[in-house]
């Protein structure tokens, strides 16, 4: 009997400390130190409407936007998922084939691997700088602007992985597209 009463006391005590107090402290500190990140780093447009989250990919299919990596979850940020396919699966080959066709890649112009592989979460917010540059001609054409100007915008937003010298460069797609709309608004139909 004493085992049960002691165990129940320990349950209640650990609930109060580890679930209530601990959560409350982290909530408080997070909202004091990084209030924006605490709510998910949401991005808003000029009207103040939420357009997405800084670190969460969303679908882009129209030619005037940069496209993110393929998503096995179809960019559903309420049901994230990877493809879980074997890296040798013919389904990956077939998926990559159709993406390459859509991107206009070919033997003369090979596609960066990140644009044809699904990320772990299906919500990878980044593409490689190479993956963005590959899409510059299409985006510039669709917006009727100078490709060099679009490329400058892309390069200005690229950052090195981890900020480490020599590391590969990546770009966040959603903020890039927002910046694109600000810099070249005329291109938007």
């Amino acid at each position: 009997m004493r085992e049960w009463t002691t165990s129940i006391r320990l349950w209640l005590l650990s609930w109060a400390v580890c679930c209530v107090a601990y959560t409350a402290v982290i909530l408080g500190v997070a909202h004091a130190a990084a209030p924006d990140a605490a709510e998910g780093s949401l991005l808003t447009d000029s009207a103040g409407r939420v357009v997405g989250a800084l670190r969460v990919a969303q679908a882009f299919t129209s030619p005037e936007y940069f496209w993110p990596r393929p998503s096995a979850a179809d960019y559903n940020a309420a049901a994230a998922s990877g493809s879980n396919l074997s890296s040798a699966s013919p389904k990956i080959t077939a998926r990559a084939d159709s993406i390459i066709a859509r991107l206009g890649g070919g033997p003369a112009d090979s596609v960066p691997a990140d644009l044809v592989t699904a990320s772990g979460s299906g919500l990878d917010p980044d593409i490689t700088l190479a993956g963005a540059l590959f899409q510059v001609p299409r985006v510039a054409r669709a917006r009727g602007v100078d490709p060099a100007a679009v490329e400058r915008l892309v390069r200005s937003r690229a950052r090195r992985v981890g900020g480490l010298p020599g590391a590969p460069r990546i770009v966040r797609v959603l903020p890039l597209n927002l910046a694109l709309d600000r810099a070249f608004p005329a291109g938007r139909s």
């Binding site: 004493r2 049960w4 009463t5 002691t6 129940i8 006391r9 320990l10 005590l13 650990s14 400390v17 580890c18 679930c19 601990y22 982290i26 500190v29 990140a37 605490a38 709510e39 998910g40 780093s41 409407r49 939420v50 357009v51 989250a53 969460v56 969303q58 679908a59 882009f60 129209s62 559903n76 940020a77 309420a78 049901a79 994230a80 998922s81 990877g82 879980n84 396919l85 890296s87 040798a88 990956i92 080959t93 090979s110 960066p112 691997a113 044809v116 592989t117 990320s119 772990g120 979460s121 990878d124 917010p125 980044d126 992985v161 981890g162 480490l164 590391a167 590969p168 597209n177 709309d181």
Partner: protein, 563 residues
């Protein structure tokens, strides 16, 4: 290429350095020697003692200790089961999650009680914030503390004491004075680095192309901190630490990966100090370290190969196979984490293991099969103790002496218990895999064909048995046969390998110590380290080589033409 190995080398050394003072602190926390008892423990501990009542003061032998452990774990199971069962009527559910299927509740509660954190659900779809915090996160604290308590009890027994402490004292100290402060520090760091921490429901965004995107969020930072520290591994979201909200940047990834290894490493030092055998701990840590570094190196090299499915297409070569990876962690992060999380029994992931190259996928499986490369908090060192008993027995037989460990004779009773605890591990993995690979229970649930499908089944039983919790997630594992079988396996594979070693410890402590002489086979030198390493590798290879060949190796060889 440089960052692939330099960054892990730097943070591995950092964790190793941090584990030393932490191990010292843990040993001080658990020290019940005469000197340790005399030390003033402060007001917090006397408040704990008052809160828990008279059971706090008894000194328990191994049997009483086990009874208390099982009683508290039964309460853990019952409370969490009720929370999940009543989810719809409980608070903190802004997104209105529905009821959970009973076999899933059983599986989930067994999983989190056993420190496994195998997940047959996706957190952001199935669990309310109340369930996440008061069932799952709570169990992440107290199940990890249970493992640390058990190791403290075993260490004292091996130090020669028949009264091995008191479970309630140990588990409370591990929860409130070890895991809680560590999680507070880590949780704050992660929140500052960008992990969400909110009780608001999902955000609704109107995308640039005019669609609506629902963005699930929640009290993630608090959850992820203890998930990483307590070798739990159960994610807030379905895809775990690949999710940008569980792991938003390169640096959160480095910190979370380091946090996986910190407490398991410190546990070895705690063992050495409590048993009064710090030199033995150095040898054990070296054996574990060799296996860990070997695994990380192998996995990184194998994963640097091109994605096999893309070799025939006009695709530029990436630094590694990118299927199932996130770009912000950099090349090498996926395989390094995969090895860390399966060497210890954490089970969180920052890349999808199902999509690792076939041979890379073998490395995490080996980690779970051996289950002693640091292992789960507390229990990893306990598993290593079983291999130590086997190693001294083999060494003793080879030189024709009665084997001894820490001055006590190792005899038939101890060997029987050690082998029981060691053999249920392959029994559950191989038996379970055989059953599910031969029947529609398994064959109808695999996503990938042929040998990779076999690997999915094999991985699931390896993960459940090793109390790991990661998965080849292509497996459609939310079925009644999977929920019930892995649920039972997780519980049995948790408690038998804790109880049997405590019984061995109790039995050894009751024997008269034999004085150490020049003829004693020493367990604190490099010779014993080599014997131990050989025992672990040979036993592991004998048990698991056939299934390794049927799964990942067969798949790799079938690619021969393409490469």
């Amino acid at each position: 290429m440089a960052t692939r190995f330099i960054t892990p080398a730097i943070w591995l050394v950092a964790v190793l350095v941090l584990a030393w003072p932490l191990g010292k602190y843990m040993a001080g926390l658990m020290d019940e020697s005469t000197a340790g008892r005399a030390r003033p423990r402060g007001g917090l501990e006397s408040a704990l003692r008052r809160a828990l009542g008279p059971a706090w003061d008894t000194d328990q032998d191994w049997k009483a200790y086990v009874v208390s452990m099982l009683a508290f774990n039964a309460v853990m199971f019952g409370v969490a089961f009720l929370v999940l069962l009543l989810q719809r009527w409980l608070p903190l559910d802004p997104d209105g999650k529905g009821a959970l299927e009973p076999s899933l509740i059983f599986n989930t509660v067994a999983s989190f009680t056993s420190n496994t954190n195998l997940q047959h659900y996706a957190g952001e779809q199935a669990m309310s914030y109340f369930s996440q915090l008061f069932a799952l996160m709570w169990l992440q604290f107290v199940s990890a503390a249970t493992g640390i308590a058990a190791l403290a009890g075993l260490s004292r027994a091996l130090g020669g004491r028949t009264k091995i402490g008191n479970f309630y004292r140990d588990v409370s100290r591990a929860t409130f004075f070890l895991l809680l402060p560590l999680a507070l520090v880590l949780g704050v760091i992660l929140a500052v680095l960008g992990i969400p921490m909110t009780l608001h429901g999902a955000a609704v965004a109107h995308t640039l192309e005019g669609a609506v995107q629902t963005i699930a969020r929640g009290p993630v930072a608090a959850f992820v901190a203890i998930k990483q520290l307590g070798t739990n591994g159960g994610g807030f979201f379905g895809p775990n630490s690949t999710h940008p909200f569980e792991n938003p940047t390169y640096w959160t990834n480095v910190i979370e990966n380091g946090a996986i290894l910190l407490v398991p490493m410190a546990c070895v030092w705690m063992f050495g100090r409590l048993a009064g055998r710090l030199r033995d701990a150095v040898v054990i840590l070296a054996v574990m370290g060799i296996l860990l570094v070997g695994g990380i190196t192998a996995a990184n090299r194998l994963e640097a190969r091109e994605t096999p499915a893309l070799t025939t297409l006009p695709v530029r070569k990436a630094p590694e196979n990118l299927e199932g990876k996130e770009l912000r962690f950099g090349a090498g992060a996926g395989p390094t984490w995969a090895v860390s999380t399966t060497a210890t029994s954490n089970g969180s992931v920052d890349a999808m293991h199902d999509s690792l190259n076939p041979l890379t996928g073998l490395v995490p499986m080996v980690g779970m099969w051996l289950n002693v490369i640091f292992g789960g908090v507390g229990v990893g060192m306990i598993n290593m103790f079983l291999f130590i008993v086997v190693a001294v027995f083999i060494a003793g037989m080879m030189v024709g002496r009665t084997p001894e460990y820490l001055t006590r004779k190792v005899e038939a009773r101890e060997m029987k218990l050690a082998l029981l605890a060691l053999l249920i591990h392959p029994l559950f993995i191989l038996g379970g895999t055989a059953l599910f690979a031969a029947t529609s229970w398994g064959t109808h649930t695999v996503l990938n064909a042929a040998s990779h499908g076999f690997s999915e089944i094999l991985y699931e039983f390896s993960s459940a048995t090793a109390n790991n919790g990661s998965g080849f997630e292509g497996l459609g594992d939310h079925t009644i046969p999977w929920n019930v079988s892995t649920g039972l396996v997780m519980l049995l594979a948790r408690f038998i390998p804790i109880i049997a070693p405590l019984a061995i410890g109790g039995s050894l402590a009751a024997k008269k110590p034999t004085p150490e002489t020049s003829g004693t086979f020493r367990t604190d030198g490099w010779l014993f380290g080599a014997v131990l390493l050989g025992t672990v590798l040979i036993v592991g290879a004998l048990l698991f080589m056939p299934v390794a060949v049927l799964g990942p190796i067969a798949e790799h060889l079938s690619l021969g033409g393409a490469r």
